[in-house]
C-alpha cells in the first residue's frame, strides 16, 4: 500500500517536473558544448572561446566537455544520438564528414550519420599548407611534383592518421598532380609534426598555426596552400589554385546540434553564435591562436559542408582500403 502510494507520488512529481522543464524558455540549464578531442587540441582550443562568448550572449552557462576517442567519433556520435533539445551541442572539425564515409568503406555500422547533425554555424576555416623539411631540395611545388613523377612512391609524407584530414588533403594533391606519394601515418597531428621535424619524412600537410614558428625558424619550408586565398601570415605563399591545381581544403571548425532540435531553439543558438563571433574577447582569443575567424551562418554553412563532404567522400573512395592496393 505504502509502496504504491509512494510510486504514485513520485510519478506525479516527475511528470510535473518534466512538464515544467518543457515549458521553460531556452536556455534555462547549462548548455554543454562537446569537444570530441582532447584538451589542447584544435577543437578544444576553438571550443573554449566560443563557449565563453556564447555564455556572455545567452547569459547562461555554456560548459565545454571533452568526450574523446576514435578520432572524434565518440564525441560526435554522442551528440548525434543525444536529445535534440538544444542543450547538447558539438564543436566539430572537418573530420566529421570523414568518419561516416570511412565506416562505410569498411562495411561497419556508422558511428553516426551526417544527417543526424544540423549545422549551426561555421567558426573558422584554416587552409592547410604543404610544408617540406628544410633540408630537402624542392623549393617550389613544380620541383616537388616533377620529382614525385620521376620517383613515384618514394617521397614520403606524414599525417595524423589514415583517412584523417591531413591525409585527405595530401591525397587530393596527389590526384590533382597525378603523382604517387608514400604515406606514413602517425597517431595524431603532433607526432606527424615531430616526424617531419626529425627529418624522417619529407612532407606534411598541416594547419598553418602549428607550423608557423618552425617556418620562421627555418626548419620547414612551405610550398603552397590549399585555400582559395593566400594565408594571411604567409603572404608570399602561393595557393594551389594559383599554380593551376584545382584543389581546396580547409580544416574548419563549426558548431552543430542534433537534428530535430526545435526551430526556435535553433534560431536562438544561431543568433547567439552570430553575436559571439563579434565579441572582442573572442576575437582576441582567436587572434592569439592565429586562427582567422571565418563565420558562416547555418544555410551557407550547410552548403559549404555538403560540398566539403562530397569532396572528402570522393577522396576516401579513391584511397579505398589501404591493404587492397598492394
Amino acid at each position: 500500500m505504502m509502496t504504491r502510494l509512494l510510486t504514485l507520488l513520485s510519478t506525479l512529481l516527475f511528470v510535473t517536473a518534466a512538464a515544467a522543464y518543457a515549458q521553460e524558455p531556452f536556455p534555462s540549464r547549462p548548455v554543454t558544448l562537446v569537444a570530441p578531442f582532447p584538451p589542447g587540441g584544435v577543437a578544444d582550443l576553438t571550443a573554449r572561446p566560443v563557449a565563453a562568448a556564447m555564455e556572455k550572449v545567452l547569459k547562461n552557462p555554456v560548459v565545454v566537455v571533452n568526450k574523446t576517442g576514435a578520432a572524434g567519433a565518440v564525441g560526435m556520435s554522442f551528440v548525434a544520438n543525444s536529445k535534440p533539445d538544444g542543450y547538447t551541442l558539438l564543436l566539430a572539425l572537418s573530420s566529421i564528414s570523414i568518419i561516416p564515409e570511412a565506416d562505410k568503406l569498411f562495411n561497419r555500422t556508422p558511428a553516426y550519420n551526417m544527417t543526424q547533425l544540423s549545422p549551426i554555424a561555421l567558426i573558422s576555416a584554416d587552409p592547410t599548407i604543404l610544408v617540406v623539411a628544410a633540408d630537402r631540395p624542392w623549393k617550389s611545388v613544380k620541383e616537388f611534383v616533377e620529382d614525385a613523377k620521376r620517383r613515384p612512391g618514394e617521397i614520403s609524407f606524414s599525417s595524423s592518421g589514415v583517412y584523417g584530414t591531413l591525409h585527405m588533403a595530401t591525397e587530393m594533391l596527389s590526384h590533382a598532380g597525378g603523382i604517387k606519394l608514400k604515406h606514413v601515418p602517425f597517431g595524431g597531428a603532433g607526432p606527424a609534426l615531430t616526424a617531419i621535424l626529425g627529418g624522417h619524412v619529407d612532407a606534411l600537410a598541416s594547419g598553418p598555426a602549428v607550423v608557423l614558428p618552425h617556418i620562421k625558424a627555418g626548419k620547414l619550408r612551405p610550398l603552397a596552400g590549399w585555400g582559395a586565398k593566400r594565408v594571411a601570415a604567409l603572404p608570399d605563399l602561393p595557393t594551389f589554385k594559383e599554380l593551376g591545381y584545382d584543389i581546396e581544403f580547409y580544416i574548419w571548425a563549426g558548431v552543430f546540434a542534433p537534428t530535430g532540435t526545435p526551430a526556435p531553439v535553433l534560431k536562438t543558438l544561431r543568433d547567439a553564435v552570430r553575436q559571439a563571433v563579434e565579441d572582442s574577447e573572442f576575437k582576441g582569443a582567436m587572434a592569439k591562436l592565429e586562427t582567422p575567424i571565418a563565420y558562416m551562418d547555418a544555410p551557407e554553412f550547410q552548403k559549404f559542408w555538403d560540398k566539403d563532404a562530397r569532396m572528402l567522400a570522393d577522396a576516401i573512395k579513391r584511397v579505398g582500403r589501404i591493404e587492397e592496393k598492394k
Binding site: V63, V65, E323, K326
Partner: protein
C-alpha cells in the same frame, strides 16, 4: 589431476584459439607489409604456445581443489557495486551513485550502524564532489535535480 596451472594454462590456450578465430576477418598482409591481422594472430599463437607450456609444466602446482574461495562472495558483491556504479554514474549523477555504493558496501556488506553509514556516505560523496568538481573543476556527472 586437475591442478591449478593446468586449468589456467588451458584457459589461456582457449583464449588464444578464440582470438585467432576472431582475427580471421582482418587482412593479414605479408611479412613485409603486415596488415591489421598480423600481430594479433602472431600474439594469439604465442599466447597459445605459452599456455600449452604452462599446462605441460603444471603438474607440480597445487590441485585446483586446494584453492580457497572464502572471500569470493564478498568479492562478487563488490564487483556488483562497481557494475552498479558504472551503470548509474551518468544516470544518477556522481553524488547519488556514491551514496548508494557506500550505503551498500558499508550498510549491507559490512553491517555498520545506519547512522555511521549515512554519515560516511553523505560526507564522502558531497565532500569529494565539492573538492573535485567545485574547487578543482574536474567535471563530474550530475544526475536528476542537478545532483
Amino acid at each position: 589431476m586437475l591442478t591449478r596451472d593446468r586449468v589456467a594454462g588451458s584457459i589461456l590456450v582457449l583464449l588464444a584459439v578464440v582470438t585467432a578465430w576472431e582475427t580471421r576477418r582482418l587482412p593479414l598482409g605479408t611479412l613485409h607489409n603486415p596488415g591489421p591481422g598480423y600481430m594479433p594472430l602472431l600474439l594469439a599463437l604465442i599466447l597459445g604456445l605459452l599456455g600449452a607450456l604452462v599446462v605441460l609444466r603444471g603438474g607440480g602446482s597445487p590441485p585446483l581443489r586446494a584453492l580457497r574461495w572464502s572471500e569470493a562472495g564478498h568479492a562478487v558483491a563488490i564487483l556488483a557495486g562497481c557494475a552498479f556504479a558504472a551503470v548509474a554514474l551518468e544516470q544518477l549523477g556522481y553524488r547519488l551513485t556514491v551514496i548508494v555504493l557506500l550505503a551498500f558496501l558499508l550498510g549491507v556488506m559490512e553491517r555498520k550502524r545506519p547512522a555511521v553509514v549515512a554519515a560516511v556516505a553523505l560526507g564522502l560523496s558531497f565532500g569529494s564532489f565539492f573538492l573535485f568538481s567545485n574547487l578543482l573543476r574536474v567535471p563530474l556527472p550530475r544526475g536528476p535535480w542537478g545532483l
